[in-house]
């Protein structure tokens, strides 16, 4: 099922989020997304089984370990682990999942993860860069948005 703008707006309307796959490297894209959401006022936690804390903030091994639980999850993992992550989201009762994909590559999206979400009642945004839908993103993200519109792949 194609992602709609309504799903995207619903996702950003939530306040407590998790980003799965946050790197310790502050220049990595996953770290930038995590920090971006914090700077924009979201109550957002990091999930990465290989880190106990990042930037001095607690980091959780799995989504179902986050307490209090989150409303939505941004998945920034390699596709090889995405299927497990969405199963964790279901176990944690998460109702909204965003499977990232930037310019080029598959991002975190897998057909199996999308199908799992759809069959388990999880509202899934599949295959979009979160920056494209945040207000006043840098111009290259705006360019990406325009390119999506021109190619007819922008959500409606």
């Amino acid at each position: 099922m194609a992602t709609t703008l309504r799903q995207i707006n619903d996702f950003w309307a939530m306040k407590r989020l998790a980003v799965v796959g946050v790197s310790r490297d502050p220049k990595s894209f996953s770290h930038a997304i995590w920090q971006e959401l914090r700077d924009r006022g979201y109550d957002v936690v990091a999930v990465n089984p290989k880190a106990q804390e990042i930037d001095g903030k607690p980091c959780y091994p799995r989504v179902q370990d986050v307490d209090p639980p989150v409303d939505g999850v941004v998945v920034m993992t390699p596709p090889a682990v995405t299927d497990q992550v969405v199963q964790d989201c279901a176990a944690a009762g998460v109702a909204h999942v965003w499977l990232h994909r930037g310019l080029g590559g598959s991002g975190s999206v897998t057909p199996g993860a999308v199908e799992f979400c759809e069959t388990h009642g999880i509202d899934v945004v599949a295959g979009f860069c979160p920056y494209m839908f945040l207000p006043e993103s840098p111009f290259f993200h705006s360019f990406h948005r325009v390119a999506k519109r021109l190619t007819g792949s922008y959500p409606h």
């Binding site: 502050p26 220049k27 770290h31 930038a32 920090q35 971006e36 914090r38 700077d39 924009r40 006022g41 207000p135 006043e136 840098p138 111009f139």
Partner: protein, 141 residues
């Protein structure tokens, strides 16, 4: 001991690294410095500082419409008026800063009495010239 707060808004990590370099330099000058992003900073903590440095990456379209982005502006709107601290600004940029500093000053409005430093860098490092500017800012009467 004098205290300094370096508050930054970074998009790719470059402004954060510059903020940390500024924090290191300020510490080397004998101040107790905290470096924190806008999303992690309690604005009320600025009231007790002796030195406040506010930084943001230069937004805009290449060489036009430069300015601080929304999260930085939102932070400034939550910020209390700073009456007793020395205040400086810094930014990272690619081509030109253009209207960046004027727009940062406009956002700050009358929350600050004077801006004692405007430091801009194309990289995440401090040059000798930047260090000199910082020293003058910190040592100003």
């Amino acid at each position: 001991m004098r205290t300094a707060i370096v508050v930054y808004r970074s998009q790719t990590g470059t402004t954060r690294a510059l903020a940390e370099a500024i924090g290191d330099h300020v510490r080397a000058r004998g101040l107790a410095a905290t470096v924190v992003s806008v999303g992690d900073c309690d604005p009320s903590t600025l009231e007790g500082a002796d030195v406040v440095l506010l930084g943001c990456w230069t937004g805009g379209f290449m060489i036009v419409a430069q300015g601080p982005d929304q999260p930085w502006r939102m932070f400034v709107r939550r910020m209390p008026a700073i009456r007793h601290a020395r205040v400086g600004l810094f930014t990272t940029y690619k081509l030109a800063t253009g209207s960046m500093f004027p727009r940062m000053r406009r956002e700050l409005g009358d929350k600050v009495e004077a801006i004692g430093l405007e430091l801009k860098s194309r990289t995440d490092r401090l040059t000798p010239s930047h260090r000199l500017d910082l020293d003058r800012f910190l040592d100003a009467p």
